[in-house]
Symmetry: C2
Subunit: 200 residues, 2 copies
Amino acid sequence: MARKPADQAVNRQDILLAAADVFRRKGFHGAKMADIAAEVDLTAGSLYHHFPGGKQQILHEVLANGLDIVTEKVRAIIEDTTLAPAERFRRAIYAHVVSLTANVSVAAALVFETRTILEDDIERESYLARRDRFEALYQRVIEDGIETGVFRTVDVPIFSKALLGAQNWLGVWYRDGGRLTGEQIANEMAEFFLNALLIC
Amino acid sequence: MARKPADQAVNRQDILLAAADVFRRKGFHGAKMADIAAEVDLTAGSLYHHFPGGKQQILHEVLANGLDIVTEKVRAIIEDTTLAPAERFRRAIYAHVVSLTANVSVAAALVFETRTILEDDIERESYLARRDRFEALYQRVIEDGIETGVFRTVDVPIFSKALLGAQNWLGVWYRDGGRLTGEQIANEMAEFFLNALLIC
DNA sequence: TATATAATCAAATCATGATTTGATTAATTG
DNA sequence: CAATTAATCAAATCATGATTTGATTATATA
């Protein structure tokens, strides 16, 4: 029967992480299959064994996985209605930022390569849906806060784009081992945006 | 002597704008010289007459020009010490955002292709310097506000990255003809970030 | 251990696209 | 209008890199 994967054989996840890293450094179009393969000690051709769909499929899985992981964390917080809107908002930002900094390469791919995947008509639909679903989470909690009277009356779509921009930008500048940890940065950012909304 | 450029001949600026647009849609690596050429009714080879340095040079000029134009607008405001820090901060954001929305393609290039130009060792140095100079402008006015006691004591580098992220992100989502004008968005964003800083 | 299947590789294929080259066609200026 | 330089083009070059193909090697299970 089918053999169980050997311990030393590379698995899909290794390849996806390696790919995210190469994408961060060179961009999707600039990344060679050989570059990705080299990161996991394979040759370019071997990658097709794991991802028959080639480079495009690899990108798709990097982005879809990455977004899903963050979405799930944020969703759990936003939908916890036992907490006040301000607290849900704060915790969501914190979790989100920590998640991005914990995995800069994927965060960077989410920033830089979303455009690439949207070029592909097949992926386009499903990816846009994923993204809208995510953005809606933040919009919901902001609206809750406004209705409750604890948040200023801001333009919610614009505010959420500003927030997401600030967060996504981490994928551009954050590096492990910098002056602040991901958690410290997450705290700061949650503070910033909460102050922007709170009526004092 | 040298001939004066004919009226109907394409000029460098046309090409740079066309290039920025193609870069926005396909990314630097995905953009073909032929794509850029087609936008101005030329063939790929003809572009080398205007830009002997090829695609790389075109990217360099798009980014350097784009950044310089925005920098100059923001600089004039930040350095106008007849205004209070809060007012300088507000006007700088406004001018910056209006400038980005007035030229989405260049704004998008500044977001997506900075990484590309940084790969090039020659450009790297000069471009990083430009960018630091720009970021320093915002940091200065924020520090002024803190020292004056009108702004909260935030972590200035992190705050400015959050701000720049929110602004740069416009290059990703803003499109002409949307629900709000560039000016309206600029106002909103200035409000957001001012509220994040102001001690009420 | 024998066999089936997974993993992998090296060497083709195939396409694509940047850049160069050698004319050819304007437009300017004396 | 002749001479000169600018703009442009079509057709080579040249390189690069994704993907395919046909073995080869490793490992698990019967």
